[in-house]
């Protein structure tokens, strides 16, 4: 299941705070679809430490789209490339 999160109108570090909060509520098979106006480079090391996978691609309504899921969640993992080919 996709959880959409638009952080494009938020001031740093609120996008990071909201993304980290949203990750905690991800169930098996879920992934986060984040709409952002900048590339959130500072959150990547945190995601890495948490065992979270991500793909950032330019585009979408605000400039960047980020897909975030648990590394060990193969069901969520399988959904990402199907919906959004790399």
């Amino acid at each position: 299941m996709e959880h959409k999160l638009d952080v494009s109108g938020l001031e740093p570090p609120e996008p990071m705070e909201q993304i980290l909060q949203a990750i905690e509520s991800l169930n098996s098979g879920d992934y986060l679809y984040v709409i952002h106006r900048r590339e959130p480079r500072m959150i990547y090391p945190m995601l890495e430490n948490m065992g979270i996978a991500w793909i950032t691609q330019p585009g979408g309504p605000e400039g960047y789209e980020i897909f975030i899921w648990r590394k060990d969640d193969h069901i969520a993992n399988a959904k990402i490339p199907t919906r959004h080919p790399q």
Binding site: G9, E11, P12, P13, E17, L20, M46, M50, Q57, Q86
Partner: protein
């Protein structure tokens, strides 16, 4: 479709003590500047060449602005460009120590006239800036795909190097170590490169990133960001020999004075664009940093008008005008902008380091990391903003009515810097508290 997995590694981000030691020292130098105003009063505003005035100027430029800009640059390079400063901890310790000793010695040298203090000041400041410039240059050169901010930083560092070399030269001349035939023109060129080069171009380069990011404005237009820093730098490169030619009697003064209008217009264009972008911002909530920046941007345009006024025959024998120009440039613009940025940088860094540690320890739900507003409450920042604006008003009146406004401005500056120091210390204390809680959590596992 481009997919990005690039990231900022945690090892690249310098420890929080690196920028914070600079940020805490800055308002202490501001307090010393306030003390100087209170002690010397109207005497400090007779002429910009008075030793106490030069001491005051350097407390603001080296002590306040220099500290914040050096600390912020060491922090920003890895964050904004993914290029860490090499050996950042020893570099920060050396630069901070040498600049602190050098600034104190220079100020004491100006006030006492003791040559030995100038020797100490010039050697420590020279070495401190040399280490800083080399370390930052290494980080800047390593960046493969520079954007407008990086170009701005490179030109700002080149301007700093020029400012320092000129500063050491006129410092040696001022203290009698060497005899200089063009001491006054060289001092003005040192000032020009310091304000319009190092401070101005760095502020512009950083603004391209932080204004859209923190103030939620549209991006700066590329037709401005592409050429502006280069044009400003080039105008200074040409202005310096024109000014020296005036100094040696080969050119009339109006030639370099008219030429310097070019960078001034460039800065006014930047200020106008920033105000327009702020007007177009997405989130129309009151923001302390934005108000500090708005003050600075309005004063850039005011400085252009004041400079034009200073060129009229009626203003020729009016010493208050160059003093006011200096006050607006250094306090009204540079201090407003850097002070305002601290209200984003300080809580953001504290939050970022705590959040990183919390994630590394997997202590979510066990230890609460405070958000930005909890680390730096708006009411505290707002109180300091009002003190800063009141000081700016008093300093604006002081060149015209030195008594009593120089004393009142000193008082205002003292209050403003005390509040700024307390606000930074308060955020630091909150950071340490939560960091201890995280350490307790770590040891209890």
């Amino acid at each position: 479709m481009q997919v990005s997995r690039s990231s900022l590694s945690l090892e690249q981000a310098p420890p929080i003590s690196v920028p914070f030691r600079f940020f805490i020292t800055a308002p202490i130098f501001g307090l010393l500047a306030a003390l100087l105003l209170l002690v010397y009063g109207p005497d400090i505003l007779i002429s910009r060449w008075a030793p106490a005035t030069l001491a005051l100027t350097h407390l603001i430029t080296l002590g306040f602005l220099g500290m914040i800009m050096c600390g912020a640059m060491m922090q920003m390079l890895p964050v904004l460009a993914g290029s860490p400063v090499p050996r950042v901890k020893p570099v920060a310790t050396a630069v901070h120590g040498l600049l602190t000793i050098g600034t104190l010695a220079l100020v004491a040298g100006f006030l006492s006239g003791i040559t030995g203090l100038f020797h100490l000041a010039l050697s420590t400041l020279g070495l401190g800036f040399l280490i800083f410039i080399v370390a930052i240059s290494v980080a800047l050169i390593r960046i493969r795909t520079p954007n407008a901010t990086i170009h701005g930083m490179r030109l700002a560092i080149a301007s700093l190097a020029t400012t320092v070399v000129l500063g050491l030269t006129v410092g040696a001349g001022f203290s009698g170590m060497t005899s200089l035939s063009q001491l006054i023109p060289l001092t003005d060129i040192h000032l020009g490169w310091g304000i319009l080069g190092w401070i101005g171009i760095l502020v512009i380069g950083v603004a391209y990133q932080v204004v859209p990011m923190f103030q939620l404005t549209p991006e700066y237009p590329q037709r401005l960001t592409g050429p502006l820093s280069w044009v400003l730098f080039a105008t200074l490169v040409i202005w310096a020999p024109l000014y020296l030619a005036w100094g040696s009697g080969q050119l009339p003064k109006w030639v370099p004075d008219t030429w310097i209008l070019l960078p001034t217009i460039g800065y006014t264009l930047f200020a106008g664009t920033t105000l327009w972008l702020q007007h177009k911002r997405r989130r129309r909530v009151s923001d302390i940093t934005l108000l500090f920046w708005r003050t600075g941007m309005i004063l850039i345009a005011a400085c252009l008008l004041l400079w034009l006024t200073s060129l009229t025959p009626a203003a020729k024998n009016q010493p208050a005008i160059p003093l006011l120009l200096g006050i607006w440039l250094l306090f009204g613009i540079a201090t407003s902008v850097t002070n305002g940025m601290l209200y984003k940088i300080v809580p953001f860094l504290a939050w970022f380091h705590l959040q990183n540690r919390q994630v590394a320890l997997m202590s979510m739900g066990k230890v609460k990391v405070p958000n930005m507003k909890e680390l730096m409450p708006d009411r505290l920042a707002q109180r300091q903003l009002y003190a800063h604006l009141a000081t700016l008003l008093l300093l604006t009146l002081a060149p015209f009515w030195p008594n009593p406004f120089s004393y009142l401005a000193g008082l205002g500056l003292g209050v403003s810097c005390t509040l700024l120091l307390l606000n930074i210390l308060q955020a630091t204390h909150r950071y340490q508290q939560v960091n201890h809680e995280l350490s307790d959590f770590e040891s209890s596992r």
